[in-house]
Symmetry: C2
Subunit: 354 residues, 2 copies
DNA sequence: CTTTCGCAAGAAAACGTTTACAGTGCACTC
DNA sequence: GAGTGCACTGTAAACGTTTTCTTGCGAAAG
C-alpha cells in the first residue's frame, strides 16, 4: 500500500516474469489477453503484476508492433478559436478511437516544419498537417515516406496524400453575393495574410464575384493577417475614412470581430452604417453583438472527418486511395450584414447550442 | 529524386551503415554530432543519410535514453476557451523548449483516467494533469511512480506532486465583495458542477463573503455545470422569476455569457436591471456586450508556468522539491457589473490585446 | 506400446537505437 | 624495436516489448 511515489524505477516485464516464475513470453501473453495460457499461470502473473504495479511500456511495445496509437498534429499556430475548434474535433474522434494526439505547432515554416516533421518519426502512426503557406515542395521533401498523411487546408497536387480543404473560393463568392443581395454596393475586403492559401482563395473569390455582381465598382482590399488586432486597425482606418464602404467582408471571423470592436468604439453603427461579415463561424461569432454574419465551416467536423479518414487509411493501408475532399461552407446570416433589401426585420436566431 | 511517397519502408540506421560502409555506431555518432569521428567517415555517413532520406527513429532512441521529449497532458474536456487557452499556454512553452505535447482528454473519470494514465507510460517524460473531480485516491493509485507530475486545479495533499491551482475561494470572495461594493444586495450564485474542486471553492467563497458583507440576505444558489447552455437556462429562469436578484455571480465566464444571452433575449437589461459577473476571464469575455466583469486568471500563464516547473523537475529530478503554487486571480471590472455607486460613467476599457 | 496430436510455456530473434568497451593502426618515446 | 598513448572505429549489450519457433508433456488414436 505504501507505494510512495518516486521511490524506484518502474517494474519491467522481466521483473514480473521473475516474480511469477514464468518466462517473459507468458507475461506478454497474459497482458495481451491471449487464450493460450493456463488458468493457474495467468493468476500467478496477474498477482505479480498487481504487486509490482506493473504497467507495460507502450514505447517498447510500439517499437516492435510498428503501431503507436498516436496521431501527430502539425499546426501553424494555436491562437484563436479556429484552432481550438479544430483540436476539439480531432480530439473527439481520437478519444472515441482510443488514440492520442501529439501536438506540434510551428510558425517559422521551412526549417522549423522540417524539424518538427523529423521529431515525429517513430512516434506517430499518421500525420494531420495544416500548412497554410503553400510550400508544397518543402512539405513533399520532408514527409517521411511511409506515413499516412492528411493535409488540412492546402492541397498538394500529386503528392499522394489526402487533403481536406474548405472551399474558400466558393465561400467567398457566396458571401460577396450575399452582401450584394443585401443591397450593399461598395464592398471592401479585409484580407488574410499573403501566402496563406485560404486567404488567397477568399480574396480571389471576392474579386471574381465583385466583377460579376458589381461590375464597375472598384475593388477595395485592405491588408490583414487573421488577427483581431489587424481587424481592429483596419476598422479604425475605415471608421475615420472619408469614403467608407457599405460593407466589409473580412477574410475570417477574428478579423471581422476586431473590426466590429473598432466600429463600436468609433460610434459607427453595424449594420446601419456599415455591414460586416466574416468567415469560419467560430463559436464566438454568434455571441458578439451584433451577431456576425459569416460562412459556416463546421471546423470541428473538418478535423473530425480528416482524422477519421486517416484512421481508415491506418487500418487498411492498401485499400484506401488518397482523396481530396473539399467542404463547401454555407452562408449564415445574422445581424451584422444588415436587413434584407425588401424587409425590415432583424433576424432573430436562437443561440448557438454548443 | 523520384522518391514518390509510400514506396518502401523507412531506412534504418543499419541501412545507412551498410551504404556508408561503416558500423552503426559511427552513424549514431555522426547523427549525434560527436566530435570523435574522422572528417571522411562523417562525409560518407552524411552522404548515405542524404541518399536514403534517413531520419532517426526517435521512438527507438527514447527506449534506451529514457527520454521522450514529450509531456503528457491529461484534461477533463476540451470544450471552451478555458481549455484552449490552457493548451495555448502549454504549447507555447513546449515549443520554446523543443518539446511536444501528448494530449489526452477524459470525461468518465475513474476507470477512464486510469486507462489514459496507463496508455502514457513510456511515451512521456512527465505529466500535466487536470483532474477537477477530487478523486485523489484514484489518481494517487494510478500514477506511474517515477513520473514527474504537475497537477492543475485540485491539489492532492501529501501526494508528492507539485500543483498549480487557482485560488478560487479568494477569487470568489473578491468578486462577491466587488458586487456588493457596487451596491447590489441580493446576489445570486450560478454554481459550477458539483464535485468539481474549483466550483466548490467558488461556491464556498460566495457563501462566506455574503455572510460577511450581506448578513441576513438569504443565499441564492442556482445549479449549473460550466456550460453555456446551463447559463442560458438559469438566465431564462431568473428573467422570468418574480424576485429577480440584483446581481448574478456565475462560477465561470461561459455560464455568465449564457446567462447574458438569455437576459438579452428576455429584454432584461444588463447591468441596469441585473448585474452579471463571471470567473476566468476567457478572451471572449471582453468582447461580449456588455463586456463581462470577471476574475482574471491568466489561464495561458497558468499552463505555461506549470509546464515550466515540470521541465525544471525533468532537468534536475533531485534538485527540485514539489511545490504548491496558488495563483490569486484579480477582479477585472467591465460593464456588466454596473456603475460604481458613486459614479455614473461606464468603464471604457481598451480591447483585450491578444 | 508406440505414434500423433494439441496445448502450454520457454528460448531467442527482432524492432532501431545508444554506449561501454575493445580493438586497430599509427606516431611517438625511450 | 618494443612500449605508450592517441584517434578512430567496430562489437556487442542494453532498452522493454512481441512473436516465431521449439520443446515438453499428457491424452487420444492406432
Amino acid at each position: 500500500m505504501a507505494t510512495a511515489r518516486g521511490e524506484r524505477a518502474e517494474a519491467s516485464i522481466k521483473d514480473v516474469a521473475r516474480q511469477a516464475r514464468v518466462s517473459i513470453a507468458s507475461v506478454s501473453r497474459v497482458m495481451n489477453g491471449q487464450p493460450t495460457v493456463r488458468e493457474e499461470t495467468r493468476n500467478r502473473v496477474l498477482a505479480a503484476v498487481q504487486s509490482l504495479n506493473y504497467v507495460p511500456h507502450v514505447g517498447a511495445r510500439s517499437l516492435i508492433t510498428q503501431k503507436t496509437n498516436v496521431v501527430g498534429v502539425l499546426l501553424p499556430d494555436l491562437h484563436g478559436e479556429f484552432f481550438s475548434e479544430l483540436i476539439r474535433g480531432l480530439d473527439g474522434l481520437a478519444r472515441d478511437r482510443k488514440r492520442q494526439l501529439l501536438l506540434s505547432s510551428v510558425h517559422g515554416e521551412a526549417e522549423e516544419v522540417a524539424a518538427a516533421l523529423r521529431a515525429l518519426r517513430g512516434k506517430v502512426d499518421g500525420l494531420v498537417v495544416m500548412s497554410p503557406h503553400v510550400d508544397s515542395d518543402l512539405l513533399q521533401r520532408n514527409l517521411p515516406s511511409a506515413l499516412p498523411i492528411v493535409l488540412l487546408n492546402s492541397p498538394i497536387r500529386g503528392s499522394g496524400c489526402s487533403s481536406f480543404t474548405i472551399d474558400s473560393y466558393r465561400g467567398a463568392r457566396a458571401m460577396t453575393r450575399h452582401l450584394a443581395s443585401r443591397g450593399h454596393r461598395r464592398i471592401a475586403h479585409l484580407a488574410g495574410p499573403p501566402g496563406n492559401w485560404d486567404a488567397e482563395q477568399r480574396l480571389r473569390g471576392y474579386r471574381d464575384e465583385m466583377r460579376r455582381a458589381r461590375p464597375g465598382v472598384p475593388l477595395h482590399v485592405l491588408p490583414g493577417d487573421f488577427t483581431q488586432r489587424a481587424g481592429y486597425e483596419a476598422g479604425r482606418l475605415l471608421a475615420a475614412s472619408s469614403d467608407r464602404p457599405d460593407a466589409v467582408f473580412a477574410a475570417n471571423d477574428v478579423l471581422a470581430i476586431g473590426c466590429l470592436v473598432a466600429f463600436r468604439e468609433a460610434g459607427v453603427r453595424v449594420p446601419e452604417d456599415v455591414a460586416v461579415a466574416g468567415f469560419d463561424d467560430i463559436p464566438l461569432s454568434s455571441l458578439v453583438s451584433p451577431a456576425l454574419t459569416t460562412m459556416r465551416v463546421h471546423i470541428a467536423e473538418l478535423g473530425r472527418s480528416a482524422l477519421e479518414h486517416m484512421m481508415a487509411c491506418l487500418e487498411d493501408p492498401k485499400g484506401t486511395r488518397p482523396i481530396a475532399r473539399r467542404l463547401v461552407p454555407e452562408v449564415v446570416v445574422r445581424d451584422s450584414s444588415g436587413a434584407p433589401t425588401n424587409s425590415t426585420g432583424r433576424s432573430k436566431r436562437p443561440i448557438n447550442p454548443r
